[in-house]
Assembly symmetry: D2
Homo-oligomer: 438 residues x 4
């Protein structure tokens, strides 16, 4: 669940569900069930008790709002949950009640539940990223010969191809995907340590039980990470970089779909998408908007994760803020991916307009190529000075640079300088190198 | 509504309600109703139409989840809301439907609705702060003569009184309260500007209508602030400083209630509050925890508000992220105030333990006072050197500094140096000056 | 001093000097001198000693690098400074050495020195802001009739005037200016409290001495704020909002000076400003760049200030990080103001291009005005539906909306709908209201 | 160089030097020299020209302040640098001047120079971390049997050993070390792309030249990352996590060296380290202070890196802010490592005081172990209820829990429950598992 109604208009439904109240309560109960079952396997808890606990976990339907209210006074959501579960178990099997949550602590429940809720989001993220990468790669190949302006500091620089630009988006996403897969393997592991991470209630069987719980929950095993959160924050950082990269792409597209530029659209216009409540002619890039809103929220959330203190064996405030913030971060990831999914599928590239915008600059963007030609017969300073003069003439006379130069030095072979075809050939290896990284 | 279930265990119920789905939808409808009514007053909309719109606004019960889903595609929550409202109005009065949301834009609805939802939170905050300030001031007066260690860098410095320490908390809160009142007056005003803030549909009557809407909603009037958010962010900053200050107080108390220090408790122990799921002896400072969790989240949220871009007449992503983030910030404020309310009411000061901790330092914290006495007959370097020697002796011999000095220089009149009573008298004006600022 | 060489390319020279090593050392010495002199005035320190200290403060030239190295081990820059000063004083007047830094603490020196260094920056900021506001107001009046596209989500919305847009920048800056003046009065006051803010060495004369120090340093008096930093952080927040607002303006201009838009330039092109090392045709908006770089840094810095803990009577780490960060924040302010100064002076508005871009949209941005005309004879839904159809025709036939409508309904009086003159008249009061706020 | 004088008291000298003006200018020149030399190798530039350029790069001593001033107007520090270099080369070899910076762009120079300056810091960081890990591991083994309180929410939980606590610090640092090594390999690569990352001036030889430059600078090769900064920010994130982890350790120690706790000291007291300018008895934990100040600054800096926009092929503001911020982040890393180096070498563990603090809690922290004993003959709820009663008695009678229980149930065998030796044996495998991860 993604908080305020306004935040929910920027979220992805499946992520909202995965982080919702219902899912989190079920995950806490899944932990308790797995714990009892693992302890039964290891001979610590009677099999019948573990069975009763499993049954109660499956049937208990505690009110999330009630849990939240009681959890506030108790200092942890897990305390009323364990209490409710213990009562439920007791009603099934009086003796089994003693074995609920045995040897564990609040943090075990909450950390593991959070990890369980995040896991499907990460799995879905991987699929969306894989598909978007493939779609961008296809766009890139399709536009291998589509020349467009490169832009630096929002000003025209020299041309490149739309293929190269889009291929770079794809490889950036591919790096993000790999990064998440690496960090997730280290971070999404079971938390089971008891009060101070030593799990000493379970004595020599502690590792055996922990591994059995992890196996049941299909999580990685791991030593207690109660107040050493570096892997978890590192994982969150890898998610942040996914959003950061989607934001880079969405930002580029939002700039390119300004009508004065009009070189790309996030998708073909569609009735009911991106209209205005006041202006019938408007088509807003709502997917870019969604991605950029997520992008705007993530840096502050990461700052929170990095700033949270983790005193001694469990933090006072820092840990609690961290978990709530990670949930918001995953929600932002969902929003960004939601947008990416639509953008990668629907991206519209207007090659004609790209050519038009290039030509509107009167060939000035080829000045560097022209300098290179001149440098065959003079030094660089002379060449740049000559080119500067011609550029000035082109601007003042409103003629193309090519015309100006052709008039001034009819014998110069300008073909390669101003030829888009030659440019595309020159740049082909750049695209190839980029795509080879996928 | 405060997002993830874990975040809700850290929230204040009344704030959660004020920011909840239901409240936000009602606020959006209140805006639409006030707009039509104001336009009727100004002769722009037929009275009957305004009446139909008011009726529809009162009866419409749109599904928040549905609005969120449709709002995502539309790019704004306001679009499906206006659509649903228009349909509702049409069913009541076909002609009136033309006048729904007339001359307005999505941002008018959402900004004004957010302001309407925040207002009661600010009013409640003011009451909580006022009460906490008074309670802390009473604690301060009560402990005017309770000497305790001052601590710098978590090390003992020289003594002050518990009264001074608590009075400073009170005056800090009082400054926060005043700051909120100042910024709120500038920030919580109506948003009514139409697409680009010129409200040109309403022509010469634009100001008249805007003021009439503001009056109906009991908000301040104000020129459009669609993409100039400085007053709003400044207001948010004043809320952030409330949380910052509560966090300072909660942090001090959390340190003081370490059992090894044990000089304060956030409240007397109470069954069911702050217990542990694993350790029967534990009494966790859960109010401090709640405050500190809020404190940990706020800096990142403020960074988001300050980093959000506001391009041209309405942002793409930045504005949307800002509103969602302000809701989270107000939720954190609620959590911090919730904790403050309990802390200010329940604070326990252990004067005996304060004295004990002071004495445990063998009088070393009076070394500066001792230096001053010596400086009556020698220069400061000599005095400090002499005092250093005595301190070293006291430590190595495990005796009190007073004993060591008395043995070394029996003629020195040490009465004032080591007298707590003298100290309290010396410090009384400091407390008075502090309390005078309330 | 603005840190890394790259940061210094983004700074304002006068601010860098005000925050530089030399200035900070002088400010620390100014504090010590004022302290001794004030104590002499109050009869605590012999006049001769105060004179010797003043002389030493005026002549001492400690090596900043050496102070930094020694300060690291000591835990405070003030300790080696006070040590060096004491030695210098001793060489002048042996007895006076006892009175150096008397009753004070490291934090008194450092906080007050920082305040002294910031003050001239704030005074300069006020002047730059005042001038920029006046210049923007003049631009606004000059372009009262220059119609341009309003843009929301980077898409064309409806037109406004360049005057209104620029006037809003001016009023936002005016609010920022007022906000700084308010917070500065509360924040830039002397720090003088001794180890725990009680200044007990000075006993009953503490307030008298403190006021005398403040008077000498031309600072406001104030009770100790050693670990209650709310006013100081609030002041920093007011600076952050100046940068935020300059960033909004610079962002708008950077977008408007994209060659495809070309409606404004930050300044007329000038040799040597904003050229490229590789592309002779480039003219980069380097003032916008400078402002936007500052804007990008400030939110994170504010997060640091709000996240810093201030335990008990002096923090361990949080205070030290705060002061270093405030220096960076003021440096960013300098960079943003540096850019603003050039932008406000040099802004170029291209009215012809604004008209051209408006017309390139075939009159679609007048669709809302057209709807209003139709609503005189039909309801709003019908009107919008009709306008939608005409817009679609205009797009598909590449004709202006006015032509399409004129052909379809020759009897409609379209004059007011598509008339820029009428539009300017409609909008004049909006500009007036905005400028009236200055 | 670490900015403000106050920041420099928190820095590491070698890092300050590596990021200083001199080092950065030399790194820019190293890039230009390597570029020309690589181009000569590839037959693009005459060998004599490359030689002249190398000579000029070695001898040129541009004024950093002048570069910063000119760079501000030019929009990049590289522009005046290239200009000065070109003039220097021209004075040596007129024709060679044409080949300075050939095919490159400002960003190539600055990004590569930054990477070159960071590299030695990372290498040094690795050495410091390796040593600290080894030292903490040795401390951990030495204190394998030293029982201390585990603490959660700053309250006593159940005991663990100092060995386990310190071993966890070591393994966290080891994870950090591995993480940096991974990200550095992906991030610290050459930047060579020309204006839009296509390096098209060099045509088919672009990759060959780029690899030759990388080889000369001993950097990894890599495709242009001008506006795709994910690997660079990910690398910065790995540095942030080093500081985060050092901050966790320093925070724990700062709490443990409160005199009321007194279980650890960052180092044995030493003359001149951590004294107070006002209080002769003080010994401040200045290394913890230094680490915590760095920790406080890093989250905001990371937020800046993640929030910086990177429009199209080069950002306006975002990139420039990023580089300046990365320099600050590396400086914070230096400060944190500086502190870690001293802490790991000097850590003092007071086993007797740990035992004392444990015993001061009257055995209540063994209540969970006592419950387990009782659960051999009753269910958990009964056991906890019984233990609760005994705890209450112990508190009210100021007796140890063991005495209370022994009096109530003389037949219970309490030996294992309250035996520290038994506890240490129980916990030995936990320490072993932790250390095995090193």
């Amino acid at each position: 669940m993604a908080g305020h109604l306004l935040a929910r208009t920027l979220s992805r439904d499946s992520f909202s569900a995965a982080l919702g109240d219902e899912a989190f309560v079920r995950a806490m109960l899944a932990f308790e069930s797995a714990l009892a079952s693992a302890q039964a396997e290891c001979g610590i808890v009677p099999a019948a008790a573990a069975q009763a606990i499993a049954t109660a976990c499956a049937t208990l339907r505690p009110s999330p709002d009630r849990l939240a209210a009681d959890g506030k006074l108790a200092g942890s959501l897990a305390i009323p949950l364990v209490k409710a579960l213990t009562e439920e178990v007791r009603s099934l099997d009086r003796k089994a009640a003693s074995f609920v949550h045995y040897g564990s602590t609040s943090q075990d429940v909450l950390d593991t539940a959070m990890v369980l809720c995040i896991r499907p989001c990460v799995e879905e993220a991987d699929k969306i990223l894989a598909k978007a990468i493939a779609q961008f790669a296809a766009h890139a190949r399709q536009h291998a010969s589509t020349v467009m302006l490169g832009r630096t500091m929002l000003q025209p620089a020299i041309p490149l191809t739309a293929g190269i630009k889009i291929a770079r988006w794809a490889t950036a996403l591919a790096r993000c995907r790999a990064r998440v897969l690496e960090t997730v393997a280290l971070a999404l592991c079971v938390q089971l340590g008891g009060p101070v991470g030593t799990l000493d209630t379970l004595g020599p069987k502690r590792v055996q039980v922990r591994q059995a719980v992890a196996r049941r929950l299909e999580l990685a095993d791991g030593r207690s990470w109660q107040s050493h959160r570096d892997e978890f924050v590192s994982f969150a950082g890898s998610l942040a970089l996914v959003v950061f990269t989607i934001g880079k792409i969405a930002g580029d597209i939002a700039l390119l779909c300004q009508p004065e530029v009009a070189e790309m659209m996030e998708s073909a216009p569609r009735k009911g998408v991106g209209g205005s409540s006041a202006m019938p002619h408007k088509r807003n890039p709502v997917s870019c908007l969604q991605a950029l809103a997520a992008t705007a929220r993530v840096p502050g959330l990461m700052a929170t994760l990095l700033a949270a203190g983790h005193e001694h064996e469990r933090a006072i405030g820092g840990w609690q803020a961290e978990l709530a913030t990670v949930a918001d971060l995953v929600d932002c990831l969902g929003g960004a991916l939601d947008a990416l999914e639509r953008i990668a599928a629907g991206l519209v590239v207007d090659a004609a307009r790209m050519k038009h915008n290039l030509e509107a600059l009167q060939g000035l963007v080829f000045s560097e190529r022209l300098s290179r030609l001149l440098m065959q017969s003079m030094d660089r300073a002379q060449a740049q000075s000559q080119v500067d003069d011609w550029c000035t003439s082109a601007v003042s006379q409103r003629r193309s640079l090519q015309e100006v130069v052709a008039a001034a030095q009819p014998d110069l072979d300008l073909g390669q300088v101003f030829s888009l075809k030659a440019l595309v050939e020159d740049l082909a290896p750049v695209l190839e190198e980029e795509l080879a990284a996928l």
